[in-house]
Amino acid sequence: MIGTAGEIVRQIASGARSAASVLADTKALIGAKDPALNCFTEKTFERAEREAAAIDALRAKGKPLPPLAGVPYAVKNLFDVEGMVTLAGAKINAANAPAVADAAIVARLSRAGAVLVGALNMEELAYGFLTENHHYGITRNPRDPARGAGGSSGGSAAAVGAGIVPLTLGSDTSGSIRVPASLCGVFGLKPTYGRLPRSGTYPFVNSFDHVGPLANDVLGLALSYDAMQGPDSNDPACAQRPAEPVAESLTLPRGLRIGILGGWFRDWADPSARRAVQLVAEALRATQWAELKAAEVARAAAYIITGAEGGALHRPRLIEQYEEFGPASRARLVAGSLIPASWVVQAQRVRQQAYREAIELFGRFDLLIAAAAPSVAPRVGQEMLEINGRSIPTKAGLGVLTQPISCIGLPVCTVPVWPEEGETPVERDLPVGVQLIGAPWRENLCLAAARTLEQAGVAQIRLA
């Protein structure tokens, strides 16, 4: 294992390892593990050598090291990386000019001393919860290669879950950080909508697009999140509020009111997902049930808005280059581009109503918990999920528990929970993630709860 971000920072600061040696280990891990998993679509080793050398030079001169000094990371291939074509998982982008600058949060991680080692596979155009990419291949689950990594940030989750890198970046429109984090057994943070700037990322649905980190421990999430915060005038949705660092205060306040989301969130969680929620609830001493009555309709509203905005975004190229889009997305995108305006307006009204209901719920609770996926990772090519006697298409169904939350922009930290010894499905040793959902701008509580669960041994990464 490469180590956690916090361990690497400490080792480099103490001289136990150099940034160059961490990078060499990372390159070896990529070479050994990536061919079977297909996480990476491109490696940036020349840049990584420069960035690692700069960190080692700083230390040699006795200068202070930045907060992520020497930590290797990789990014979903929808983030601009200077000199690289931003694919967003799509063949239609392959002939585009290379990016002239890094995406805002990639630049911020570089300034914080992190070392970029490559770009990662994803679902085409971020449209779906699998990473079975028609053009760039399937990203497999590091726990069981017969299963998928989830999506759309599948490469980001699998690279962390396989122990290749301690930190990656992903995006989350409807669950694309939380679902693959759940399936691959890693930690993920989807901040409040507007908290982190999306400048220099390939868009999908402006109304819902979030960016955030995935990591092999909570401190790694917190350190990277702190480094990426702050306003950015190039993203009109980015909140003009100062950074609110969390890494130094990952302690859960006493007397926190934690609710367990029932209703929709329990109905669509299978026994393994319910068990994961139960373990988290017990560890956090949560006993009260809560219900977001608008969850189902919020998901429906998100579907309509996603279809309309995604379809409108790609319409010109769907007209000219339909056959170059993958078969799993092109007809859906065209259908979305035909959605009447009245549907979209109604969906946005429903969304606002659902947000108000959630804010009322946060008058009674500080944190809500729910499963992040309805089940453990499905097999590659599995078309349907069976959840409590009901069937749902895998591609859309994996997001059934995340989509209502991103529709209303709430911050969520997803933590990996594993079956206990002797417990079904222990023979598969597959995790399910649990969402720790906060009120807007309360990422600190989500991360502090995650840290509490990590310290209690309830949520942790287990390398394959």
């Binding site: 109304s207 429906a300 309509i304 109604q346 429903v350 109503q353």
Partner: protein, 63 residues
């Protein structure tokens, strides 16, 4: 889904495709009609949700 609704949806999709400048063969149109039917089914629940008459949309969403 009733046969009448299916026909309405197919007519709508054909008209909207033409309006927006798409040109597809019959196989492609059938696939797009199927996808649009799914969206139509989902949209029904959005329209059935009770809302105050004056409730506002969230076109630019800022929590």
């Amino acid at each position: 889904m009733t046969e009448a609704r299916d026909k309405q949806l197919e007519s709508y999709v054909r008209a909207a495709l033409a309006l927006q400048g798409y040109v597809f063969d019959e196989t492609q149109i059938a696939e797009i009609v199927m996808q649009f039917s799914r969206l139509d089914a989902i949209a029904r629940s959005v329209f059935e949700w009770p809302l105050p008459f004056a409730s506002e949309a969230a076109p630019v969403f800022r929590p």
